[in-house]
């Protein structure tokens, strides 16, 4: 039975009542309590408006004023061949596939993993890994102040659960693939991912959101990553939602001493996309690389909100976000660096570069520094412009056509972000996505 959520007539509260009793983990007291606190908070906060500073450039009224349905299963609509365009070229694959937010055992693939490594769907983990969940789930992503996180926490039912024990090194990339299918009504999913890396471990996890159709739906994602001491986690978020979809995703990372996170976001699809990335460098000597590439066209709206919190001394963070905007699209980059009082010897750097290809595209960027410690090195920079005339001339003067020169420059721009991806199969996949984006743009211009 599907449940409808809408702001009218307390729809979200009513819908929650119907949802809760059948949700996975309902019998777990601690989880029930978290869900109930979350819906209470969501009710109190309501969807953000343009008068909320953090949402000043992104109007979510189209989401707030629409109703969405929590669907029943849609597994039968997806076959293994449908997944092929979204898979990486690795031979060994650990891939969890979710259709419309729910795990599909038949479509997923498990390969041998090092001893003690657990990769399963969250609904199952609620049964078999209760202790780990209780100690970590919803402990980091803020459902008390953030409306979309509260919404996800109230309605979470499934997602990826990854546990890497002490010292384990996982070579195979772990792929969490979320596929949306066509439907008659606008649906909502609340994917919830929890990744825990104990001390001295290493792994690469890819979150991937794609669609088989062009319909309207809302993916409201929350991912929590807990990185233990001396561990290194590579994280990828690839967003290829339908061209009418809304994708709001929140990544909350908690870093322990000397840990290392390298997170790469690639945003290409969707109609209204908000990418929240919030690492907290809680232990001394951490390293954080937050990398991103967003490419928008037509009437797409892509909002990147970074909040890098230096809570401990001697940590290094780098935010490198590049954007290409075409058509009437709108990009937003809000990059906050917060350095707490005791976070001395912080070294934080943030760069946002934007290439505007049309007269009607718009970009709003707000690189922000909030510094409460004095022995720190913090810089940020933002540039906005067209393709550099000098660079263009240089290439053309060597006999390269104007079109090819522009291509070379634009590819170089996007490659800056892709180069730092360490998993080759994912990097190649992203290269192809970017190449297709440019190809499609050329086709449309010819019409």
């Amino acid at each position: 039975m599907s449940i409808t959520l809408s702001e009218k007539d307390n729809g979200y509260i009513e819908g929650f009542a119907g949802f809760e009793k059948n949700a996975p983990g309902y019998e777990l007291g601690w989880l029930k309590s978290i869900r109930e606190q979350a819906i209470a908070k969501f009710s109190e906060l309501g969807f953000p408006t343009l008068q909320d500073e953090d949402w000043r450039f992104t109007n979510v009224a189209p989401i707030a004023r629409s109703s969405f349905e929590i669907l029943e299963n849609g597994h039968d609509k997806v076959s293994a061949s449908d997944l092929a365009p979204f898979q990486f070229e690795d031979t060994d694959v650990t891939e969890l596939v979710f259709v419309n937010g729910r795990y599909s055992q038949e479509l997923s693939t498990h390969s041998p993993l090092p001893k003690g490594v657990i990769v399963k769907n969250l609904a199952e983990a609620m049964v078999s890994e209760q202790e780990i969940l209780q100690n970590n789930l919803a402990k980091y992503a803020d459902f008390k102040e953030e409306a979309f996180t509260a919404l996800n926490t109230a309605f979470m039912e499934d997602g990826g659960f990854v546990y890497i024990p002490k010292g384990a090194i996982v070579e195979t990339p772990i792929h969490l693939l979320y596929i949306s299918t066509d439907g008659d009504t606008a649906s909502i999913t609340n994917p919830r991912n929890l990744i825990i890396a104990e001390n001295n471990s290493q792994a690469n996890i890819i979150e991937h959101y794609a669609s088989l159709a062009d319909n309207v739906y809302l993916s409201n994602v929350v991912t929590e990553i807990v990185v233990g001491e001396n561990s290194t986690i590579g994280h990828y978020m690839i967003e290829l939602e339908s061209k009418k979809a809304f994708n709001i995703s929140t990544l909350r990372v908690q870093q322990a001493r000397s840990s290392n996170i390298r997170s790469h976001s690639v945003l290409l699809g969707g109609s209204l996309v908000r990418n929240n990335v919030h690492p907290v460098l809680a232990g001394e000597g951490c390293d954080s690389l937050i990398n991103g590439l967003y490419m928008s066209n037509h009437r797409q709206h892509m909002d990147n909100y970074m909040k890098v919190e230096h809570a401990s001394p001697h940590c290094d963070s780098r935010q490198l976000y590049n954007g290409i905007l075409d058509g009437r699209s709108r990009g937003v980059f809000h990059g906050r660096i917060i350095v707490h009082k005791d976070a001395q010897k912080t070294d934080a750097k943030q760069t946002n570069r934007n290439l505007i290809l049309s007269d009607t595209a718009q970009i709003d960027t707000k690189p922000q520094l909030e510094i409460y410690a004095d022995d720190v090195k913090c810089t940020h920079g933002a540039t906005i412009g067209q393709i550099d005339e000098n660079a263009l001339f240089y290439l053309r003067s060597r006999g390269i056509s104007e079109e090819a020169s522009r291509d070379i420059i634009m590819h170089a721009f996007t490659n800056e972000t892709l180069e730092s991806m360490s998993v080759d199969s994912v990097k190649n996949y992203c290269y192809n996505l970017v190449t297709n984006w440019f190809e499609q743009r050329k086709q449309e211009q010819k019409v």
Binding site: D364, I371, D375, T383
Partner: protein
Amino acid sequence: MSVDIEKLAQQEYKYGFVTDVDQEIAPVGLNEDVIRMISAKKDEPQWLLEWRLKAYENWLTMKEPTWPNVHYSPIDYQSISYYAAPKNMPKLESLDDLDPEIKAAYDKLGIPLDEQKMLAGVAVDAVFDSVSVITTFKKTLAESGVIFCSISDAVREHPELVKKYLGFVVPANDNFYAALNTAVFTDGSFVYIPKGVRCPMELSTYFRINAENTGQFERTLIIAEEGSYVSYLEGCTAPKRDENQLHAAVVELIAHKDATIKYSTIQNWYPGDSEGKGGIYNFVTKRGRCVGNNSHISWTQVETGSAITWKYPSCILEGDNSVGEFYSVALTNRRQQADTGTKMIHKGKNTSSTIISKGISAGFGQNTYRGLVAIGKDASGARNYTQCDSMLIGDKCGAHTFPYIEVKNSTAQMEHEASTSKIGEDQIFYCQQRGLSAEDAVSLIVNGFCKDVFKELPFEFAVEAEKLLSISLEGSVG
């Protein structure tokens, strides 16, 4: 490296004294009657009274903004007196006729109402609380056609100009404090530079806030006709007080074709004591419109005082090829808070703006730079260069930058850089090795940090600015 901080931190605010002069002070509270009284006292025409009343009506419907990064106890607008004027207020022909107490007060402040300054060629419009005491040098300026007088005098003698331009840059309903100012402004400067004239001397104004609970609401209007040039200096000081005093001024600049207006400010209002008590609230709306092609407006400010500073001197670049500049040094020490910056709005073609902001935080100070660079859809060829640097002294202060960049035109070229640093122990050691005290070392380094801004100030101001910074930083090293 240890310094006797305690002794230095006790340094008294140099200008903290009160002048005991007979004053006519309005009873506290804000209502239509108070506004009518102010307008009547100034003998204002009906249209101006109506303008004030409409602004007041608007103000009643507005909400006090709470978004800045500053914290203060709520202001009770009904417990402030909106008018204070010294009793002997006839118009004076020469300085000898000035109330001796007032003259002594100004001498203490070092305000140049005497011959020496006259030789230096600076015209001064000294404002004692709410009413102009004297306007010197009117005659000299009048010879070149420059009008420099109090705004009250301008309403009487040049009503067509005032009516045309008052509210042209900052309309009455622009924001909460502008509306309040429009309703109760009591004085300020009026400057008019006719076509093609380069104002022969730098114009300057000093302000004071004296009586308890009197907020000061100045309104300044500067108009530069085609091809003209003017450099205007504003420097303020205030006595030591326990109650917070509100200063909600409005400054409007209009630059026509090929005209240039340089507006410099040294702000040294009482900053509050070391516990954060008292001190001025400096909530100001300053804005310039580069109306004509090739016009140029430049804001330079050194903000060292006030308990709370909240201002964004801005430029609207409407004319093609117009230029806007903002150079700022803002210092927060002890418990001061500042949320300041600029807005550069690019509307015309090939406009350019430069923003250089230097923030220095010490003690428990919180210093925020907030800026907006907006490139409109038709602003092709727009250029902006922004550099915001923060320096932190000590580990209990904060420095924040919130720059907003909004671009709607693909040919815009924007560059933004920001950095944060501290004064290194090794830098201080280097200076001390060469015989400088730690405080002098800090002074030297800070002045070097602010060099790009100080060089934009007119000479006398630049000297005063450096001294001011040193005094304000006393007690911050350690």
